[in-house]
Protein backbone atom coordinates (compact mmCIF):
# COMPACT_ATOMS: atom_id res chain seq x y z
CA UNK A 1 0.00 0.00 0.00
CA UNK A 2 1.56 3.30 -1.03
CA UNK A 3 1.72 6.20 1.36
CA UNK A 4 -1.27 8.35 0.71
CA UNK A 5 -1.86 11.94 1.59
CA UNK A 6 -4.73 14.20 0.80
CA UNK A 7 -6.31 17.31 2.28
CA UNK A 8 -9.02 16.69 4.83
CA UNK A 9 -11.07 18.84 7.18
CA UNK A 10 -9.75 19.35 10.69
CA UNK A 11 -12.46 19.73 13.35
CA UNK A 12 -12.10 21.68 16.57
CA UNK A 13 -12.15 18.35 18.48
CA UNK A 14 -9.13 17.12 16.53
CA UNK A 15 -10.99 14.67 14.29
CA UNK A 16 -10.28 14.75 10.58
CA UNK A 17 -13.00 14.31 7.97
CA UNK A 18 -12.94 13.62 4.24
CA UNK A 19 -16.17 15.55 3.62
CA UNK A 20 -17.41 18.86 5.01
CA UNK A 21 -21.09 18.25 5.58
CA UNK A 22 -23.94 19.90 7.41
CA UNK A 23 -26.06 17.23 9.07
CA UNK A 24 -29.77 17.84 9.51
CA UNK A 25 -31.12 15.51 12.17
CA UNK A 26 -34.80 15.21 13.07
CA UNK A 27 -36.05 13.79 16.33
CA UNK A 28 -39.40 12.20 15.39
CA UNK A 29 -41.07 11.01 12.20
CA UNK A 30 -43.46 14.00 12.38
CA UNK A 31 -40.48 16.31 11.69
CA UNK A 32 -39.08 14.27 8.80
CA UNK A 33 -40.93 16.06 5.98
CA UNK A 34 -39.68 19.48 7.03
CA UNK A 35 -36.16 18.17 7.68
CA UNK A 36 -35.95 16.64 4.20
CA UNK A 37 -37.37 19.79 2.62
CA UNK A 38 -34.69 21.81 4.40
CA UNK A 39 -31.98 19.50 3.04
CA UNK A 40 -33.45 19.31 -0.45
CA UNK A 41 -31.28 20.76 -3.22
CA UNK A 42 -28.32 21.31 -0.89
CA UNK A 43 -25.32 19.25 -1.99
CA UNK A 44 -23.42 19.56 1.28
CA UNK A 45 -26.40 18.71 3.47
CA UNK A 46 -27.34 15.19 4.55
CA UNK A 47 -30.45 14.27 6.52
CA UNK A 48 -30.90 11.55 9.14
CA UNK A 49 -33.46 11.10 11.89
CA UNK A 50 -35.17 8.85 14.37
CA UNK A 51 -38.83 8.01 13.78
CA UNK A 52 -39.99 7.18 17.31
CA UNK A 53 -41.76 9.62 19.63
CA UNK A 54 -40.48 7.78 22.70
CA UNK A 55 -36.77 8.16 23.13
CA UNK A 56 -34.23 5.36 23.24
CA UNK A 57 -30.74 5.58 24.72
CA UNK A 58 -29.18 3.60 21.89
CA UNK A 59 -30.75 5.79 19.19
CA UNK A 60 -29.70 8.96 20.99
CA UNK A 61 -26.09 7.75 21.26
CA UNK A 62 -26.20 6.96 17.55
CA UNK A 63 -27.44 10.46 16.71
CA UNK A 64 -24.81 12.04 18.97
CA UNK A 65 -22.13 10.03 17.19
CA UNK A 66 -23.44 11.23 13.83
CA UNK A 67 -23.62 14.94 14.68
CA UNK A 68 -20.01 14.73 15.94
CA UNK A 69 -18.80 12.56 13.07
CA UNK A 70 -15.47 13.58 11.47
CA UNK A 71 -17.17 14.21 8.11
CA UNK A 72 -19.72 16.54 9.70
CA UNK A 73 -18.82 20.20 10.14
CA UNK A 74 -22.12 21.56 11.44
CA UNK A 75 -25.47 20.36 12.70
CA UNK A 76 -29.08 21.47 12.48
CA UNK A 77 -31.49 19.57 14.74
CA UNK A 78 -35.20 19.75 13.88
CA UNK A 79 -37.99 18.63 16.20
CA UNK A 80 -41.74 18.82 16.03
CA UNK A 81 -42.16 19.89 19.63
CA UNK A 82 -43.96 17.04 21.44
CA UNK A 83 -41.45 14.18 21.24
CA UNK A 84 -39.20 12.82 23.98
CA UNK A 85 -35.94 13.12 22.01
CA UNK A 86 -34.59 16.65 22.49
CA UNK A 87 -33.12 18.42 19.45
CA UNK A 88 -31.59 21.05 21.73
CA UNK A 89 -29.44 18.39 23.39
CA UNK A 90 -28.17 17.15 20.03
CA UNK A 91 -27.27 20.69 19.00
CA UNK A 92 -25.59 21.27 22.38
CA UNK A 93 -23.44 18.16 21.96
CA UNK A 94 -22.38 19.27 18.48
CA UNK A 95 -21.60 22.77 19.77
CA UNK A 96 -19.60 21.32 22.66
CA UNK A 97 -17.37 19.58 20.11
CA UNK A 98 -16.76 22.92 18.40
CA UNK A 99 -19.19 22.34 15.54
CA UNK A 100 -21.54 25.21 14.69
CA UNK A 101 -25.05 24.00 15.57
CA UNK A 102 -28.64 25.22 15.61
CA UNK A 103 -31.99 23.70 16.46
CA UNK A 104 -35.67 24.57 16.42
CA UNK A 105 -39.15 23.14 16.91
CA UNK A 106 -41.48 23.19 13.90
CA UNK A 107 -44.44 24.02 16.18
CA UNK A 108 -42.62 27.16 17.37
CA UNK A 109 -41.59 28.11 13.85
CA UNK A 110 -45.24 28.13 12.75
CA UNK A 111 -45.61 24.94 10.71
CA UNK A 112 -44.34 23.51 7.46
CA UNK A 113 -43.49 26.56 5.35
CA UNK A 114 -42.06 28.75 8.12
CA UNK A 115 -40.22 25.67 9.44
CA UNK A 116 -38.58 25.05 6.08
CA UNK A 117 -37.68 28.75 5.81
CA UNK A 118 -36.21 28.68 9.32
CA UNK A 119 -34.16 25.62 8.42
CA UNK A 120 -32.90 27.10 5.15
CA UNK A 121 -31.83 30.26 6.98
CA UNK A 122 -30.02 28.13 9.57
CA UNK A 123 -28.18 26.26 6.80
CA UNK A 124 -26.95 29.51 5.28
CA UNK A 125 -25.66 30.68 8.64
CA UNK A 126 -24.02 27.32 9.45
CA UNK A 127 -22.41 27.11 6.02
CA UNK A 128 -20.92 30.57 6.45
CA UNK A 129 -19.54 29.58 9.87
CA UNK A 130 -17.89 26.35 8.77
CA UNK A 131 -16.40 28.04 5.73
CA UNK A 132 -14.79 30.51 8.13
CA UNK A 133 -13.79 28.09 10.91
CA UNK A 134 -12.80 24.81 9.28
CA UNK A 135 -9.17 24.40 8.43
CA UNK A 136 -7.77 21.92 5.96
CA UNK A 137 -5.16 19.46 7.09
CA UNK A 138 -3.16 16.69 5.45
CA UNK A 139 -4.54 13.21 6.06
CA UNK A 140 -3.19 9.71 5.56
CA UNK A 141 -4.24 6.13 6.25
CA UNK A 142 -3.51 6.59 9.95
CA UNK A 143 -6.30 9.16 10.12
CA UNK A 144 -8.91 6.86 8.61
CA UNK A 145 -11.47 4.61 10.18
CA UNK A 146 -13.06 2.38 7.55
CA UNK A 147 -16.05 0.12 8.03
CA UNK A 148 -16.98 -3.01 6.09
CA UNK A 149 -20.38 -4.55 5.63
CA UNK A 150 -21.79 -7.08 3.22
CA UNK A 151 -25.29 -7.48 1.87
CA UNK A 152 -27.06 -9.15 -1.00
CA UNK A 153 -24.39 -11.84 -0.71
CA UNK A 154 -24.04 -14.71 -3.14
CA UNK A 155 -21.58 -17.52 -3.71
CA UNK A 156 -18.92 -15.09 -4.97
CA UNK A 157 -18.99 -12.80 -1.91
CA UNK A 158 -17.00 -15.19 0.25
CA UNK A 159 -14.61 -16.07 -2.58
CA UNK A 160 -13.68 -12.65 -3.94
CA UNK A 161 -15.63 -9.62 -2.63
CA UNK A 162 -15.04 -10.16 1.08
CA UNK A 163 -11.47 -11.52 0.73
CA UNK A 164 -10.36 -8.43 -1.23
CA UNK A 165 -11.79 -6.19 1.48
CA UNK A 166 -10.02 -8.39 4.05
CA UNK A 167 -6.71 -7.95 2.27
CA UNK A 168 -7.29 -4.19 2.08
CA UNK A 169 -8.04 -4.19 5.83
CA UNK A 170 -4.71 -5.97 6.47
CA UNK A 171 -2.90 -3.18 4.62
CA UNK A 172 -4.92 -0.46 6.38
CA UNK A 173 -4.09 -1.93 9.80
CA UNK A 174 -0.42 -2.23 8.84
CA UNK A 175 -0.54 1.52 8.04
CA UNK A 176 -1.95 2.31 11.53
CA UNK A 177 -5.48 2.86 10.26
CA UNK A 178 -8.61 1.63 12.01
CA UNK A 179 -10.67 -1.11 10.43
CA UNK A 180 -14.13 -1.99 11.73
CA UNK A 181 -16.27 -4.93 10.67
CA UNK A 182 -19.56 -6.03 12.16
CA UNK A 183 -22.26 -8.63 11.66
CA UNK A 184 -21.46 -10.91 14.57
CA UNK A 185 -24.74 -12.61 13.64
CA UNK A 186 -22.83 -13.72 10.55
CA UNK A 187 -20.19 -15.56 12.53
CA UNK A 188 -22.54 -18.31 13.56
CA UNK A 189 -20.70 -21.60 13.88
CA UNK A 190 -17.33 -19.81 13.91
CA UNK A 191 -16.77 -19.19 17.62
CA UNK A 192 -13.36 -20.86 17.72
CA UNK A 193 -12.17 -19.20 14.51
CA UNK A 194 -13.25 -15.80 15.86
CA UNK A 195 -11.74 -16.12 19.32
CA UNK A 196 -8.45 -17.43 17.91
CA UNK A 197 -8.00 -14.05 16.18
CA UNK A 198 -8.00 -12.07 19.47
CA UNK A 199 -5.03 -9.75 20.03
CA UNK A 200 -5.19 -10.09 23.85
CA UNK A 201 -6.92 -12.26 26.47
CA UNK A 202 -9.25 -9.32 27.13
CA UNK A 203 -10.15 -9.20 23.43
CA UNK A 204 -10.72 -12.97 23.45
CA UNK A 205 -13.17 -12.64 26.30
CA UNK A 206 -15.00 -9.76 24.54
CA UNK A 207 -15.20 -11.73 21.28
CA UNK A 208 -16.47 -14.83 23.05
CA UNK A 209 -19.18 -12.81 24.82
CA UNK A 210 -20.21 -11.07 21.57
CA UNK A 211 -20.39 -14.42 19.79
CA UNK A 212 -22.51 -16.04 22.47
CA UNK A 213 -24.90 -13.10 22.58
CA UNK A 214 -25.34 -13.19 18.79
CA UNK A 215 -25.98 -16.94 18.72
CA UNK A 216 -28.49 -16.73 21.58
CA UNK A 217 -30.24 -13.85 19.91
CA UNK A 218 -30.66 -15.68 16.61
CA UNK A 219 -31.89 -18.78 18.39
CA UNK A 220 -34.44 -16.82 20.43
CA UNK A 221 -35.91 -14.86 17.53
CA UNK A 222 -35.64 -17.96 15.29
CA UNK A 223 -34.08 -15.89 12.54
CA UNK A 224 -30.51 -16.15 11.32
CA UNK A 225 -28.90 -13.48 9.19
CA UNK A 226 -29.52 -15.11 5.85
CA UNK A 227 -32.15 -14.18 3.28
CA UNK A 228 -34.05 -15.73 0.36
CA UNK A 229 -31.74 -13.92 -2.06
CA UNK A 230 -28.69 -15.47 -0.37
CA UNK A 231 -30.14 -18.95 -0.81
CA UNK A 232 -31.09 -18.25 -4.42
CA UNK A 233 -27.50 -17.06 -4.96
CA UNK A 234 -26.14 -20.42 -3.83
CA UNK A 235 -25.54 -20.00 -0.11
CA UNK A 236 -27.01 -23.04 1.62
CA UNK A 237 -26.52 -22.39 5.34
CA UNK A 238 -25.75 -19.60 7.79
CA UNK A 239 -22.44 -21.35 8.51
CA UNK A 240 -21.45 -21.02 4.85
CA UNK A 241 -22.55 -17.39 4.70
CA UNK A 242 -20.70 -16.71 7.97
CA UNK A 243 -17.38 -18.03 6.70
CA UNK A 244 -17.71 -15.86 3.61
CA UNK A 245 -18.71 -12.80 5.63
CA UNK A 246 -15.88 -13.26 8.12
CA UNK A 247 -13.36 -13.15 5.25
CA UNK A 248 -13.79 -9.38 5.11
CA UNK A 249 -12.02 -9.09 8.47
CA UNK A 250 -8.73 -10.07 6.81
CA UNK A 251 -6.08 -11.79 8.91
CA UNK A 252 -4.83 -9.28 11.48
CA UNK A 253 -5.48 -9.70 15.23
CA UNK A 254 -8.80 -8.33 16.51
CA UNK A 255 -8.17 -5.66 19.16
CA UNK A 256 -11.55 -5.86 20.83
CA UNK A 257 -15.28 -5.33 20.53
CA UNK A 258 -16.87 -1.90 20.02
CA UNK A 259 -20.46 -1.08 20.77
CA UNK A 260 -22.60 1.17 18.60
CA UNK A 261 -21.40 4.82 18.80
CA UNK A 262 -17.98 3.93 20.21
CA UNK A 263 -14.91 4.91 18.20
CA UNK A 264 -11.93 2.53 18.12
CA UNK A 265 -9.64 3.68 20.96
CA UNK A 266 -6.51 2.95 18.93
CA UNK A 267 -5.45 1.68 15.52
CA UNK A 268 -6.03 -1.90 14.38
CA UNK A 269 -8.92 -4.19 13.54
CA UNK A 270 -12.13 -4.07 15.61
CA UNK A 271 -15.40 -5.97 15.73
CA UNK A 272 -18.51 -3.81 16.12
CA UNK A 273 -21.23 -5.51 18.16
CA UNK A 274 -24.59 -4.21 16.95
CA UNK A 275 -26.65 -7.01 18.49
CA UNK A 276 -29.19 -5.94 21.10
CA UNK A 277 -28.38 -6.77 24.71
CA UNK A 278 -30.84 -9.01 26.55
CA UNK A 279 -33.93 -7.03 27.56
CA UNK A 280 -37.46 -7.81 28.65
CA UNK A 281 -38.73 -6.25 25.42
CA UNK A 282 -37.58 -7.92 22.24
CA UNK A 283 -36.39 -5.10 20.01
CA UNK A 284 -36.71 -6.99 16.74
CA UNK A 285 -33.94 -8.30 14.55
CA UNK A 286 -30.32 -7.34 15.03
CA UNK A 287 -29.69 -5.81 11.62
CA UNK A 288 -33.13 -5.67 10.03
CA UNK A 289 -31.49 -4.48 6.81
CA UNK A 290 -28.09 -3.52 5.42
CA UNK A 291 -28.61 0.19 5.96
CA UNK A 292 -29.05 -0.30 9.70
CA UNK A 293 -25.66 -2.01 9.93
CA UNK A 294 -24.02 0.68 7.80
CA UNK A 295 -25.32 3.41 10.13
CA UNK A 296 -23.88 1.49 13.09
CA UNK A 297 -20.50 1.37 11.34
CA UNK A 298 -20.63 5.10 10.57
CA UNK A 299 -21.34 5.73 14.27
CA UNK A 300 -17.82 4.43 15.06
CA UNK A 301 -16.44 7.44 13.20
CA UNK A 302 -15.85 5.57 9.94
CA UNK A 303 -15.25 8.18 7.22
CA UNK A 304 -15.81 5.55 4.48
CA UNK A 305 -17.71 2.25 4.43
CA UNK A 306 -16.98 -0.61 2.03
CA UNK A 307 -20.06 -2.58 1.07
CA UNK A 308 -19.64 -6.01 -0.49
CA UNK A 309 -22.55 -7.27 -2.56
CA UNK A 310 -22.60 -10.28 -4.84
CA UNK A 311 -26.15 -10.00 -6.12
CA UNK A 312 -26.05 -6.22 -6.36
CA UNK A 313 -27.50 -3.50 -4.17
CA UNK A 314 -28.57 0.06 -4.82
CA UNK A 315 -28.17 1.63 -1.41
CA UNK A 316 -25.87 4.41 -0.33
CA UNK A 317 -25.36 6.22 2.94
CA UNK A 318 -25.36 9.69 4.45
CA UNK A 319 -22.37 11.12 6.36
CA UNK A 320 -19.77 8.61 5.07
CA UNK A 321 -19.48 7.57 1.40
CA UNK A 322 -20.30 3.96 0.61
CA UNK A 323 -18.00 2.13 -1.84
CA UNK A 324 -19.64 -0.87 -3.50
CA UNK A 325 -17.51 -3.94 -4.10
CA UNK A 326 -18.70 -7.07 -5.88
CA UNK A 327 -17.02 -10.40 -6.57
CA UNK A 328 -19.57 -11.17 -9.27
CA UNK A 329 -18.48 -9.86 -12.69
CA UNK A 330 -21.98 -10.40 -14.05
CA UNK A 331 -23.43 -8.17 -11.32
CA UNK A 332 -20.72 -5.57 -11.93
CA UNK A 333 -21.61 -5.35 -15.61
CA UNK A 334 -25.37 -5.49 -15.10
CA UNK A 335 -25.35 -2.75 -12.43
CA UNK A 336 -22.36 -0.77 -13.67
CA UNK A 337 -23.74 2.62 -12.53
CA UNK A 338 -24.03 1.37 -8.95
CA UNK A 339 -20.92 -0.78 -8.55
CA UNK A 340 -17.59 0.86 -7.73
CA UNK A 341 -15.28 -2.13 -7.80
CA UNK A 342 -15.13 -5.58 -9.37
CA UNK A 343 -13.14 -8.26 -7.56
CA UNK A 344 -14.44 -10.90 -9.98
CA UNK A 345 -11.20 -11.14 -11.99
CA UNK A 346 -9.60 -12.88 -8.97
CA UNK A 347 -11.83 -15.89 -9.50
CA UNK A 348 -10.74 -16.59 -13.04
CA UNK A 349 -7.06 -15.98 -12.40
CA UNK A 350 -6.93 -12.66 -14.25
CA UNK A 351 -5.85 -10.86 -11.09
CA UNK A 352 -4.27 -11.97 -7.82
CA UNK A 353 -5.87 -11.05 -4.52
CA UNK A 354 -2.98 -8.64 -3.90
CA UNK A 355 -3.40 -6.93 -7.27
CA UNK A 356 -7.10 -6.53 -6.68
CA UNK A 357 -6.52 -5.20 -3.14
CA UNK A 358 -4.00 -2.68 -4.53
CA UNK A 359 -6.61 -1.45 -7.02
CA UNK A 360 -9.19 -1.18 -4.23
CA UNK A 361 -6.67 0.79 -2.15
CA UNK A 362 -6.26 3.28 -5.00
CA UNK A 363 -10.01 3.69 -5.23
CA UNK A 364 -10.39 4.25 -1.47
CA UNK A 365 -7.62 6.87 -1.59
CA UNK A 366 -9.43 8.69 -4.43
CA UNK A 367 -12.71 8.73 -2.52
CA UNK A 368 -10.89 9.91 0.61
CA UNK A 369 -9.39 12.72 -1.47
CA UNK A 370 -12.85 13.88 -2.54
CA UNK A 371 -13.93 11.82 -5.55
CA UNK A 372 -17.56 10.72 -5.21
CA UNK A 373 -18.25 7.01 -4.89
CA UNK A 374 -20.97 5.78 -7.24
CA UNK A 375 -23.78 5.68 -4.66
CA UNK A 376 -22.66 9.10 -3.44
CA UNK A 377 -22.76 10.53 -6.98
CA UNK A 378 -26.21 9.02 -7.56
CA UNK A 379 -27.48 10.81 -4.47
CA UNK A 380 -28.16 7.72 -2.36
CA UNK A 381 -28.48 8.75 1.30
CA UNK A 382 -30.42 5.88 2.90
CA UNK A 383 -30.45 5.71 6.68
CA UNK A 384 -32.24 3.62 9.27
CA UNK A 385 -32.27 4.42 12.98
CA UNK A 386 -34.27 2.01 15.08
CA UNK A 387 -35.22 1.20 18.63
CA UNK A 388 -32.62 -1.09 20.13
CA UNK A 389 -31.40 -1.89 23.60
CA UNK A 390 -27.67 -1.76 24.19
CA UNK A 391 -26.07 -1.05 27.55
CA UNK A 392 -24.56 2.43 27.61
CA UNK A 393 -20.78 2.54 27.24
CA UNK A 394 -19.00 5.01 29.50
CA UNK A 395 -19.10 8.44 27.89
CA UNK A 396 -15.30 8.64 27.93
CA UNK A 397 -15.19 5.57 25.69
CA UNK A 398 -17.89 6.90 23.40
CA UNK A 399 -18.05 9.06 20.35
CA UNK A 400 -16.52 12.09 21.97
CA UNK A 401 -13.42 10.40 23.37
Amino acid sequence: MPDAAWQGFLRADGRKGIRNLILVVYTVECASFVAHAVGSGENDVHVVGFPGCYDNAYAIRLMLALVNHPNVGACLAVGLGCEYTQPAKLAEAAAASGRPAEWFYIQDAGGTRPGIARGKAALASLREKIARQTTQAPMGWEDLTIGAECGGSDGTSGLAGNPVVGRFFDHLVDRDGRAVFEESVEMIGLRDVLVSRAATPQAASELDAAYRKAENYCREVRQYSVSPGNFAGGLTTIEEKSMGAFAKSGTRPIQGVLRVSQSPPHSGLWLLDSVPDPHFMQFGYTNPNDTEGIMDLISTGAQIVLFVTGRGSVIGSPVAPLIKVTGNSRTFERMIDDMDFNAGPILIGEQTLDESAAALTDLVAKVAAGAASKPEALGHREYFLMYKHQETPALAEGCRA
Partner: protein
Amino acid sequence: MSTDANADYRRAFRVDAADNVATMLEDVERGPVMIYGTDLPQIVDAPAPVALGHKLALARVDPGEPVVKYGVAIGLATAPIMPGEWVHLHNCRSQVDERSNRLDPITGAAKDTPYA
Protein backbone atom coordinates in the same frame (compact mmCIF):
# COMPACT_ATOMS: atom_id res chain seq x y z
CA MET B 1 -3.84 -23.13 -16.29
CA SER B 2 -5.96 -22.20 -19.28
CA THR B 3 -8.78 -19.72 -19.01
CA ASP B 4 -9.57 -20.02 -22.71
CA ALA B 5 -13.17 -18.88 -23.19
CA ASN B 6 -13.60 -21.42 -25.99
CA ALA B 7 -12.72 -24.38 -23.78
CA ASP B 8 -15.61 -26.83 -23.56
CA TYR B 9 -15.76 -26.93 -19.78
CA ARG B 10 -17.20 -24.68 -17.13
CA ARG B 11 -15.25 -23.35 -14.14
CA ALA B 12 -15.64 -23.73 -10.39
CA PHE B 13 -13.53 -22.67 -7.42
CA ARG B 14 -12.48 -24.69 -4.38
CA VAL B 15 -11.42 -22.55 -1.39
CA ASP B 16 -9.63 -25.05 0.87
CA ALA B 17 -7.92 -28.35 0.16
CA ALA B 18 -10.21 -30.06 2.69
CA ASP B 19 -13.38 -28.95 0.86
CA ASN B 20 -15.72 -31.54 -0.63
CA VAL B 21 -17.58 -28.88 -2.62
CA ALA B 22 -16.58 -26.18 -5.12
CA THR B 23 -18.43 -22.99 -6.06
CA MET B 24 -19.52 -22.50 -9.68
CA LEU B 25 -18.00 -19.42 -11.36
CA GLU B 26 -20.50 -19.72 -14.22
CA ASP B 27 -23.64 -21.69 -14.96
CA VAL B 28 -23.26 -25.30 -16.09
CA GLU B 29 -26.06 -27.19 -17.85
CA ARG B 30 -24.29 -30.55 -17.68
CA GLY B 31 -20.82 -31.80 -18.50
CA PRO B 32 -17.23 -31.20 -17.42
CA VAL B 33 -16.39 -28.60 -14.78
CA MET B 34 -12.79 -27.56 -14.16
CA ILE B 35 -12.07 -27.01 -10.48
CA TYR B 36 -9.61 -24.18 -9.72
CA GLY B 37 -8.36 -22.75 -6.46
CA THR B 38 -6.32 -25.45 -4.74
CA ASP B 39 -3.78 -27.96 -6.02
CA LEU B 40 -3.89 -28.86 -9.69
CA PRO B 41 -7.06 -28.22 -11.63
CA GLN B 42 -9.27 -31.30 -11.72
CA ILE B 43 -12.35 -32.08 -13.76
CA VAL B 44 -15.68 -33.18 -12.33
CA ASP B 45 -18.68 -34.13 -14.48
CA ALA B 46 -21.93 -32.36 -13.65
CA PRO B 47 -24.93 -34.62 -14.45
CA ALA B 48 -27.44 -31.75 -14.14
CA PRO B 49 -27.49 -27.93 -14.05
CA VAL B 50 -25.67 -25.99 -11.31
CA ALA B 51 -25.91 -22.18 -11.33
CA LEU B 52 -23.23 -19.53 -10.78
CA GLY B 53 -22.49 -19.17 -7.06
CA HIS B 54 -23.96 -22.58 -6.23
CA LYS B 55 -21.98 -25.58 -5.04
CA LEU B 56 -20.97 -28.76 -6.81
CA ALA B 57 -19.91 -31.88 -4.91
CA LEU B 58 -16.31 -33.02 -5.49
CA ALA B 59 -16.74 -36.32 -3.67
CA ARG B 60 -19.47 -38.61 -2.45
CA VAL B 61 -21.14 -37.31 0.74
CA ASP B 62 -23.47 -39.62 2.65
CA PRO B 63 -26.41 -38.47 4.80
CA GLY B 64 -25.21 -37.11 8.13
CA GLU B 65 -21.70 -36.42 6.84
CA PRO B 66 -20.36 -32.85 6.82
CA VAL B 67 -20.38 -30.68 3.73
CA VAL B 68 -17.03 -28.89 3.92
CA LYS B 69 -16.24 -25.45 2.44
CA TYR B 70 -13.56 -22.97 3.59
CA GLY B 71 -12.19 -26.00 5.45
CA VAL B 72 -15.12 -26.03 7.90
CA ALA B 73 -18.40 -27.95 8.09
CA ILE B 74 -21.00 -25.61 6.64
CA GLY B 75 -23.77 -28.18 7.09
CA LEU B 76 -24.68 -31.86 7.04
CA ALA B 77 -25.86 -33.90 4.07
CA THR B 78 -29.52 -34.94 4.29
CA ALA B 79 -29.45 -37.22 1.23
CA PRO B 80 -26.74 -39.14 -0.63
CA ILE B 81 -24.70 -36.70 -2.75
CA MET B 82 -22.64 -37.97 -5.69
CA PRO B 83 -19.62 -36.18 -7.22
CA GLY B 84 -20.70 -33.45 -9.66
CA GLU B 85 -24.12 -33.01 -8.09
CA TRP B 86 -25.61 -29.72 -6.95
CA VAL B 87 -25.38 -29.27 -3.16
CA HIS B 88 -28.03 -27.02 -1.66
CA LEU B 89 -31.12 -26.89 0.54
CA HIS B 90 -32.54 -30.13 -0.90
CA ASN B 91 -29.60 -32.26 0.30
CA CYS B 92 -27.74 -30.20 2.95
CA ARG B 93 -28.92 -28.63 6.21
CA SER B 94 -27.53 -26.13 8.69
CA GLN B 95 -26.53 -27.41 12.12
CA VAL B 96 -27.93 -24.27 13.79
CA ASP B 97 -30.63 -22.68 11.61
CA GLU B 98 -33.70 -24.94 11.45
CA ARG B 99 -35.76 -22.46 9.45
CA SER B 100 -33.52 -22.55 6.39
CA ASN B 101 -34.30 -26.23 5.87
CA ARG B 102 -37.88 -25.37 4.98
CA LEU B 103 -37.22 -22.89 2.16
CA ASP B 104 -37.74 -23.37 -1.55
CA PRO B 105 -34.44 -24.81 -2.83
CA ILE B 106 -34.54 -22.83 -6.10
CA THR B 107 -35.76 -19.39 -5.05
CA GLY B 108 -34.95 -19.48 -1.33
CA ALA B 109 -38.48 -18.20 -0.69
CA ALA B 110 -39.92 -18.90 2.76
CA LYS B 111 -42.75 -21.44 2.76
CA ASP B 112 -43.49 -21.30 6.49
CA THR B 113 -45.09 -17.85 6.77
CA PRO B 114 -48.86 -17.71 6.18
CA TYR B 115 -50.06 -15.02 3.76
CA ALA B 116 -53.77 -15.74 4.26
